[in-house]
């Protein structure tokens, strides 16, 4: 990955996410989510020491013994402040697709993501989407399949909703009033033109476009030290690739 002042894109993403997490919050991360997991561990070791972490796949950070069902019940009660998901496709209205590419009956690719997100995206107070591939096939005008919507229909039980999208190029904020994604910041070393070229919908960028803050030395030291060591216990492959 390209480096900006010594930090990898994965590290810039982790720090951008970590800074959105607050002390005392209950924060859950699903499977196949090493970057959000490292962001949580970083936040817990810096500004959010009393955050309660629920990291699927981790023994140390899974406080339930009644399986995933118990975790779902906990989430539906409104106990999650933050949850993370990714999207094979993410559209301008904050809808995301983790279910199927192409027609549902004759899919080009069938994906596994329906189970959690059809529920958790509705009940977490802030949903943060992350994606390490910022491209026109990911950031599309309209998803092929709505696994979870940016905006829920009237009368539907929804405790929170989409908060932001963090990619390897930029951060989008979700404007709930307008029901659309708006460019929040571009990562160091990335230009607005880069993001425009790789996004298949309008960016609604502010002028000037803010830059995502670089990780501090202290944040990088944690990410490469204690956080990596802990992440290693449940994301060994990711840690191997990053080293």
């Amino acid at each position: 990955m390209a480096e900006a002042a010594g930090a990898s894109r994965a590290e810039v993403m982790a720090v951008a996410i970590a800074r959105r997490l607050r002390d005392g919050e209950t924060i859950a991360v699903g499977s196949v989510s090493p970057i959000p997991a490292s962001a949580c561990l970083l936040a817990k070791r810096s500004h959010a020491p009393s955050a309660r972490l629920i990291l699927l796949g981790s023994r140390a950070h899974f406080p339930f013994n009644g399986g995933v069902q118990e975790f779902y019940n906990f989430a539906v009660r409104g106990r999650l402040d933050v949850f993370f998901a990714s999207g094979a496709q993410i559209d301008q209205h904050g809808n995301f697709n983790l279910s199927v590419i192409g027609d549902y009956e004759k899919p080009k690719v069938r994906l596994p993501g329906g189970r959690a997100n059809g529920i958790l995206a509705f009940v977490a107070k802030r949903l943060i989407l992350f994606r390490t591939e910022h491209s026109r096939r990911v950031f599309v005008p309209k998803v092929d399949f709505v696994t979870a919507p940016g905006t829920a229909p009237e009368g539907v039980y929804r405790l929170g909703g989409l908060h932001a999208v963090v990619s390897d190029l930029c951060v989008f904020e979700f404007d709930r009033g307008r029901g659309r994604l708006e460019l929040g910041s571009v990562h160091p070393g990335v230009s607005l033109a880069d993001v425009e070229a790789k996004t298949a919908f309008p960016l609604h960028a502010p002028t000037p476009v803010p830059e995502t803050p670089l990780p501090t030395d202290a944040e990088l030291a944690l990410l490469r030290g204690a956080v990596r060591e802990e992440l290693q216990t449940f994301y060994p492959e990711f840690v191997k690739q990053q080293s």
Binding site: N65, G66, G67, G118, L120, F122, V123, A148, V156, P236
Partner: protein
């Protein structure tokens, strides 16, 4: 559990409601201002899960991170594979993890390393190399057929499988 359906908070506004006509949107009977989704209960004929220990009464102790106790109650028959068979009665012994009482279990099979290539919490980790091999093989029908021949049809039993993947004797 044999309930006919389960109310779900979520799903409304997703395309699951479009492709699954058996998912229904109804007013919550106890609070009609709320629209709520109903989904039919899944009732498997057979469930299989892997546990740490089993006894001769069918009691099984497994990781609390799994939904074994739930699927054991939802299925018509439940088969538990376990790392070890122990003497005595697990319901009478203190234990870590979750006890799935034998009344929910149809059969217990002694299968050390039975979760391979996935992990068994506290016992062994995921076999990443084997999972990678599987992912590569699963890319097309030809290579997948070869994978099946090598690891499924081409071995006489579980011990033969363990030997093939280099874990003969159920080594830890």
């Amino acid at each position: 559990m044999n309930v006919p359906f389960v109310p779900v908070r979520g799903l409304l506004g997703t395309d699951y409601m479009r492709v699954r006509p058996d998912f229904k949107a109804v007013p919550n009977p106890y609070d009609p201002r709320e629209e709520i989704a109903l989904v039919p209960a899944v009732a498997p004929d057979v469930a299989v899960f892997h546990g740490w220990k089993g006894d001769r009464h069918g009691n099984v102790v497994t990781s609390g991170a799994l939904d074994a106790k739930l699927i054991a109650q939802a299925s018509r028959r439940t088969v538990a594979t376990v790392e070890e068979i122990v003497d005595g009665d697990l319901t009478q012994a203190p234990h870590l993890g979750v006890l799935v009482p034998g009344i929910h279990v149809s059969a217990v099979v002694h299968a050390p390393r039975g979760a391979h290539p996935t992990s068994c919490e506290g016992r062994y980790a995921v076999d990443d190399a084997h999972v990678r091999e599987y992912i590569e093989a699963a890319q097309d029908d030809d290579t997948f057929a070869k994978w099946l021949d090598r690891y499924v049809y081409g071995v006489p039993d579980h011990a033969g499988y363990l030997e093939r993947v280099g874990l003969a004797g159920g080594a830890r």
